[in-house]
Every structure is written in structure tokens, then in C-alpha cells.
Amino acid sequence: MRLYRRRVFVRDFDWILFLSVAAILIFGLVVLYSAGRTTGSEASYHSRQLIWMAAGLMALLFALVLPFRALDGLSIPIYGVSILMLLFLVFMPGRGADRWISLGFFHLQPSEAAKIGLVLMLARVLSDIPPGRWQIRRMIAPALVAGVPFVLVMRQPDLGTSLVFGSILLPMLFWAGLPMKAILLAVSPVVGMLAASNLWAWVVFLLILFVLLIVLRASAGFISVALGANMLVGIAAPILWNGLHSYQQARILTFLDPGRDPLGAGYQIIQSAVAIGSGGFLGKGFLQGTQKGLSFLPEQHTDFIFSVVGEEFGFIGCAGLLLLYTIVLIRMLQIAVRTRNRFAALLVIGFLGFLSFQIVVNVGMTLGLVPVTGLPLPLMSYGGSSLITSLFAIGAVLSVGLRRTRY
């Protein structure tokens, strides 16, 4: 199998996907330059991001040249090491809230490595299950594989990132052939938990769930299990709520009503909305953002980078950027559909899952649609770990695309 004959490479390499990613990266540097301009750190962000970008492109290249049988082999080591690092964070004495391991020049975020590890590991586990007949016991292994990093990251405590693991698990289960009603069973308690804050909302939710289950032709036994489980969740929700950290409670409440805390967590949402909204259709222009320079948005180079896009490049810039992301995601989806190898397809779906989740949740957060979760915008936000992870994922997807006909 000579994979690297140039004509085959040129023909099968997904140039549209790659060039869209490149365009986002370049745009990201431009925005980072601007984001740094008014905070007095003009020397650091964009130039340091350039170094991470070089490292990220190496990761992309590495994933690209690696045959995915090798990726299959790497799944256990990568998953294992990332879990060990997460454990290290949990048990590291006296540094409870830290989410990274300091390597001096670099803050390694084990949760980023765990995303890759989980995708590889789930693809391995799920591709061993033949499509067709699904049984509950087949879900035990995937649930355990996803559950361990979920719980460890939850303990950091980082609610946003632990939900990312859910965004990997669910699409992969779906792709592996889990029936819709089973997914409904898995997702409904989460939605139910939110609905449980209000009695009427909860009752309406249970009714909708019941109707959906009828439509999906679930058996009477299945329906009673699903409804029963949700009843339990509804009762447990207030108890769980009290178990959340107060800042997590504050974030959720502030999301529901930003005016509640105009100077704390709600402040970021309001300021971000004002920055984006005042950008208007065409934006205020590169380096011209007036809200950007405020100390109001302390995370404008990381989590709130999209606010800077909104203010300086307007609706055109935002929509253009989202279009680029959409192209990337749809191309990834196409690669998954065309691939004849189950492991490879699951791999792509897993990467697609966390990238799309982070994009939608991060942008939604700056627009005030989603609570402030502390998730970075892939390929744009400042930070080495996230960038390297995203580019590794893209490299693996490109590799699947390149070899799709070979398997």
C-alpha cells in the first residue's frame, strides 16, 4: 500500500477542510493581536500563539501520516496517561482548583489530552460491537470509559469540560447504532434536571418525553423505566443542586438572569453582548474595538475571543467565521459517512462531537445563549493545549479522509 504517491494524495486530501482550518487559524492570530493590543500585553499573545500553532501543525502532521491501526494501538496509552494526569490533579496536595500541570514554559491541561484519549478509546470499544442488536449490557463498557474522565474533571471542578465528554459519547453511541429511544433515555435525565427547577416545566417535560417514547414505539416496559428514572432524577435534582459549588450555582442562575449579578459573573455576559451588539453589521474595524480594551473582559484572548470578533468585524465577520467552522464540520461529517472502516468513522464522529460542541457552546456563551462555562473556542482561543488537541483531531480526520477507500 503506497499511500504517499503524490497524485493520490492530491486527489484524496481534503483541501477544502484543510484550507478552511488554515483560514480560521490566520484569522485567529489577527484577532489575538487585536485582543492583546489594549491590555498592555501586545508582545505576548499572538506571537506565543504562533509557537503553539507550529506545535499544533506538527501534531496535525503526526496524526496525518499515522495509519489508523497505529491510532488504534495508541488509544490505550493516550487514554491511560491522560487519566493518570487527571488523577494527579485530583490528588495533588493543596492545589485543589488547578486544571493544569505546570511544565514551566507550558501549562499542560490533562483534560485536553483526555478528549483525544476518550475519542480513541470509545472508537476502539464501540467498533468491537457489531451493529444491529443492542443490549443494555453493551453500554457498560462505553459508559465506564466516558464516566471516569467525566467524574475526574467534574471534581476539578470544571463543569463545562466534563460536559464535553458527553458531547463525545453521545454522537459516537448514536453512530455505533444505539437506538434513538435509548439515547432519549440517556439524555432525558439531564434535560429533566434543568426542568426540575420549576414544577410546571417538569410536568410538561415528562409529558413530552412520554409522547416522544410513544412515537418511537418504545415498549411499555421501556416507557415505565424511562419515566421512572426521570421521576427519580426530578426528586434528586434539588439535592444535587445543593451539592454544586456556589460559583457553579451562581453561573447557572446568572445565565438565567444576567441582571441578577451585574458586576460578577453576569458582568462578562453583559459586556460581551454589548461588545458584539455594538459591532453592528460591518464592525468597528480592526483594532478599533472600544469595549475590547476594558478591564471588563478579562478573558477576551481566551474564552471571550469571539466578543472581539463581534465588535471589530461585525455581523459579516461573525457569520463568515461561523461559515468557515460549518464547512470544517460538514466536511468532517462527509468523511465519516464515506469511510468504510467502522473504527475510523467513529473516530471522526467523536472529534466532530467535541469540536462542534465547543464551538456552539463558546459562541453561545458570548452571545448570552449558554452559561459561562470556560470552554475555549477551538482554533481561535489563546492557549497551547486546546490548539494542539484540535489540530491533532483535524489531522486524524484528514488522515481518515485520505485513506477512506483503502479500508
Binding site: T39, E42, I276, G277, S278, G279, S356, G364
Partner: protein, 592 residues
Amino acid sequence: MMREIDPRAREKGILLGVVLLAGVLLLIGRLFQMQVLGAEEYTAKADENRIRPERLTALRGRIYDRTGLILADSRPSFSVSVIPYQIKRDPEVLNRLGALIDVEPEELRERVRRGYSRPYEPRVVVRDVDIRTVSIVEERTRELPGVLIASEPVRRYPQGERFAHLLGYLGEVSERELREAATSGSGLGAGSRVGRTGLEKQYDRRLRGKDGVRYVQEDARGRTLGTLRESAPVPGEDLRLTVDGSLQALSESLLKNYMAGAVVALDPRTGDILVLSSWPSFDPNLFAVSVSSADWDSLTGHKQHPLLNRTTQAAYPPGSVFKLITSLTGLMEGLVKPETRLLPCLGSYRFGRRVFRCWKEEGHGSLPLRDALARSCDVYYYQIGSNMDLDRFSGVAGDFGFGKKTGVDLPTERSGLVPSKKYMNDRYGRSGWGPGFKLNHSIGQGEILTTPLQIARYFGAIATGSIVRPRLLKESIDPDGNRIDGPESVARAVSYTADLLDPVRLGIIEVVEGLRGTGGAARVPGIRVAGKTGTAQNPHGLEHAWFVAYAPAEQPEIVVCVFLEQAGHGGSEAAPIAGDLLRLYFSRKRGA
């Protein structure tokens, strides 16, 4: 390779694609709503109702001496600040402001520019203005959008230059520090004043406290609409030092008669520093607001470098003060015994082809150790020096803390130098130096460099048999009145038993109390004092005068070290100062 075609792949792909597109469309819809339909409303919000955080400077902690004398506190003052982005909008404001407060608009513009990287944080342009200026500016706020009057505490040092080197001074935080502070969460803001030297730097975090913040809502013209919320500043901790104000005052007044010098006094049992004085000095009040360039130039251009803390930041040859180290080396190596007399001193010593002189031309005759120390006979020490092992010598010196920092709680300290064989080989080459160099080392000359603090600590170790880490902070007191101990008192026993130390101690008692001792000027009525003089040759001019003493000789509780730059003989110049300090110390103790 297995080829398995997933028959439902297309179907599933379409479903996922729809979910994805729905998500993206939701975002675009919201963007459209905000940026196209709602743009005007948000633009108005962005322009007209800004919430500006305003820093409330925390009161910096006070500093007291051990008796409660105030060495540093703060006084209220008013300052004029400017918000850079509003000035950019209306550049005329600076011209008007300049005319009102009598400052060149160009000068104001320059000060604003320095802060431009944080355009929304008020930038102080004139500090410590008088109340008349305050009222003039306050009356015209309408013509001066973006100009603010703020009250802020200003540091005050009531004792002037007396404690300048140990207290240090403040300076305005730099852009780089601000950037670093942003990640470390130290709570610094543009215009914050931080300790630059001395204890102000060493304990900056404790002294600084935590600034508060007030959120001010204002309109596009910078007019305040109201205060939304504020968190009160938390004052810094007060520091209570180990130094003794009246001893410090006396040492300053005595040092003033000389060109340059330093005095250190400490308690050899705990390491508590009682006096740390360096001359010439400066007035730290010059730095409290912002040092003028004329003052700065005169301080840095001064020939004697008044900013230099001579007690810790400068190292000098110790001269004969170092002879205790040579004595211990000789005793340990068995080169001398306490009672043996060496070859007689006839005013000089011939070593190979060279002649090494004793300071006393007519010679001392044949002496035992005690008299050699008391009369500081160089020839006696040349004889030890020529036979001793250099690494053994530097090992003894190292044990008494030479060649390394004392660990005192001050931010910058020199470690001095004690040459080992390796050092000499590296510096001069293996064959570039011979035993003759050791003769110089044996009388504290040559490459040896020490700080006055090191000398004081070393003498304390001779006195008690254990070497301490000197400290200036006794305790700090937080705003709630809780006492927090200063640096732990650390003492390490030196590795010399009493039978080695005692002969040396007898010798240095003789220095002060003996009829022919060189340090008689340091006698204290009723108290036995042990001391050693030093007259260090200095290639740049007159000799440096040293004197170091501890007392009472039987139960040492104070060490005094006096160093005078290019002042001549230790016995005639430095010893009287140490005597005055010891006499004050013991007379006060008796009076109490």
C-alpha cells in the same frame, strides 16, 4: 482489509448534519438579532452607560521600631487622574487642565501616554496636589471630562534619612510588573506604588494590603451617575522591627562625621538586628510621591553612592578583624598552641624573597596567641598563613558564614568572597599564585571580601558558639490585630569546641581590656567587652577602619560592628563609635 459498509451511514450523517446546522443557524440568528436589529441599542449602551471600576487604594501598613517609634506611615493626599480614552476623544482637555494646575500640557500628555496600554483605567498625572488645586479642578468638572480628583494615601517617613537603607523606598509599578501581576492576581493596578528596595520591597505583599474597588456608572462625557457597588480596601499589615531607634539615632549621628561607613548591631542569641545604619544616606520621603529627576540625579551622581546600603550591599576587605579565623585555623591544624610563642616579630617577615611588613614598624617581639590577637601582630599571623592549608582556612571562614549571604530579610545582599584553592587556580592559573598569597589572606587582605553584617554575625558566633540568621522583622500585625511572627530565628552551632574558641575569646577580651590592646576606646564601665580592630589596606586611598565587639564578654547579648570607609585606623576611629553605642546600650539597661 475488512470492508464493511454501514448501510445507515448516510441517514445518520444527514441527521447529525441537520442538528449541527440547526445549532449554527441558532447562533447566526442570535447574531443577526444583536448586530443588525439591535445594533443601535447596543451601541448606545456601549457609549452612554459605562461602568468603570475605580480603585480604592489600601492603606499601606505602618512600620515601627522595637519600642513603638513610628518609622513609616501614611498621610492623606489628593491626586489628579485622567482616563486616557476620554482624553483621546477631546485632546483640548489636557490644555485646559494644564492651564488650571500650572503644568505644561506636553508634560501631561507624556504622562497619559505612558499609561495608554490601559486606556480605561484612570491614570494619575499629578500627585499630592494642594487643596486649592482640588477645588479649582472640582469647580470645572464640566469642562474637564475624563479628569478625576482622587484621594490616596502617601507614604511618610518621619525619621527621614535615619532608617532609609533598611526601610527602602517606593516606586510606581511598571508596565511589565502589571502584566505579570495580571496573571498572579496580586491586585496591582496602574499607578500602584510598590516597594522598590529595603523592607518596603521585602515585605511589600504584607504591607500593601488589598485594594478595594468601586464601580462607578457614568455617561459618555465621563460624568458620574452613581456608585453601583463597592468593596472596601483592606489595610496592609503593620511591621514591628527588631531595630532600636535610639541606638540607630546615635550611630547615625556618629557616622555623620565620616565620609562613608556603616554600623550594625545585633543580638547574637536571636539574630535580632538592633542597628543597621549606612552613611551617606538619603531621605526616602523624596520617593514617596514620585522622585523628581533633579533629586534622582543628585542621588545617583553622588560620589559616595548614598543609595548603596553599605551594611549588606557592599563588600570590603576585613583586615585584622579576620584574624580570629586565622587563629582558629592555626589551632585546628596544630600549627600553634595557645601558649606557644612563635618567632619574634621584628616589624617584618621574610618569606622567600619577599618581605611582609607588620603594621608596627618597631615590632612586637615574641608573642603567644592571646597577645598576638590583642596587639594584632601581623608577623604572628604570617607564620600561620605560610603553613596553613588554604582550603582549611576558607572552610573555617565558610563555617562562620563568609562567602555566602546571611539570609537577612532584605531583598539584595552580597555574599562577599573567601578564596578557595579552586578559586585561586581559576583566577590566577595553577602556577600563577603561591603560598605568599596566603600570607595576605591570613591578615584578612588579598581576595577576601566581607559585608559589615557578615562581620557582626561572625563575631556573634565567636561569642555564643552558634551562628544566627539576622532578621529585621520581629512581627507583623494584621488589621484584625493578629500577630504574625517575623522570620524564624535560626541558629546553627559552629563546629568548634570551647577549647578552640576560648583562647581566641581571651585574646579579644585583651584587645579591649588589656593594657596594650588596640581597642581600648570601646571600654564600658562595669562591663567586660571583647573586640577586634581592623585596618584594611585599600588600594584606592586611606585604609578602611573596622571595629567589632561583643559584650558582656561572659554572657554576650549585643554585637556591634563599625566600618568606616577610608578613615584610617580601626582602633582610633571605629572603636570609639562602638564604645559610645555599647555605653548607651548598657547605661539604658541599667537605668531601666
